[in-house]
Symmetry: C2
Subunit: 132 residues, 2 copies
DNA sequence: TATTTAATGTTATATTATTACATAGTGTTA
DNA sequence: TAACACTATGTAATAATATAACATTAAATA
């Protein structure tokens, strides 16, 4: 059994919650909401989050210290992530654009660094918020 | 006098320090190191950092909660930033690649969102660390 | 079975960042 | 100059985010 395919009890609880809320969620908000399921301490949340990020089930939105479920089958291992973030309503969407990911995966640094991973965050106003 | 061109006392102290160390530096490390210059509280540091980021003198490396001086004349307003980060030695370099920034600046989201800004962080091993 | 690896539970604490409120300087304009 | 707005400052307290350290349990593997 591959470790990527089996989630532990806490990992399941936390992934379920993140998938349910369906928007970027913060660690302590997760903690607060899963306490009824027996999760009592921040570390229990952070450990599960680390693991879930590692196996690509969720992503961390670095600029917001928040976590979202992955909806993109092409980033199974969380190696190539891109998001659009509305600076007004804070709506976040995962971008899945083959051309973009192909371009970035093959990007060559001038210093000859070998990349394993990238994270891209776009900021602006979503459609709704630009009308206002 | 444009506000971008005049730095206040605290802003100068903090920018000087960040430029001097020449690598990503954390807020509380800055605080510690500028205390002899009369800066006593976290907030004095964070306020200066916010302003310096806003005017593009420094950038925040989101995945590391650290700040670096901008070395790239083309991102004056901090709207388009890209970094390479070595996961072993934590060396960070700002990437300035016209093709890349052109490509990303003109990237069109499928949801029709209008982007004002982006931040891209590549992760991998730098040359030195890949040899080890 | 013995051993290793992954996960858990718990307490305490470290690190990062902001709120709230009072004060001072600087430029504008009436 | 006086009144005003705006930016920056100083200070204390606290909120929010994240990890260290240690003991224990469960699962996978040799």
């Amino acid at each position: 059994m591959l470790k990527q395919e089996t989630l532990s009890k806490n990992q399941k609880i936390i992934l379920d919650y993140i998938e349910k809320v369906n928007e970027p969620t913060k660690a302590y908000s997760i903690l607060h909401n899963v306490q009824k399921k027996g999760i009592k301490a921040p570390l229990q949340v952070y450990r599960a989050l680390d693991r879930l990020v590692e196996i690509g089930k969720i992503h961390k939105i670095e600029s917001r210290n928040a976590f979202v479920a992955c909806k993109n089958s092409s980033c199974q291992l969380s190696k190539a992530t891109a998001f659009s973030i509305c600076e007004s309503c804070e709506e976040v969407s995962e971008i899945s654009d083959n051309k973009l990911s192909k371009y970035l995966k093959s990007f060559q640094d001038k210093a000859g660094m070998k990349f394993k991973k990238y994270n891209l965050e776009f900021f602006g106003l979503c459609k709704k918020c630009s009308i206002k």
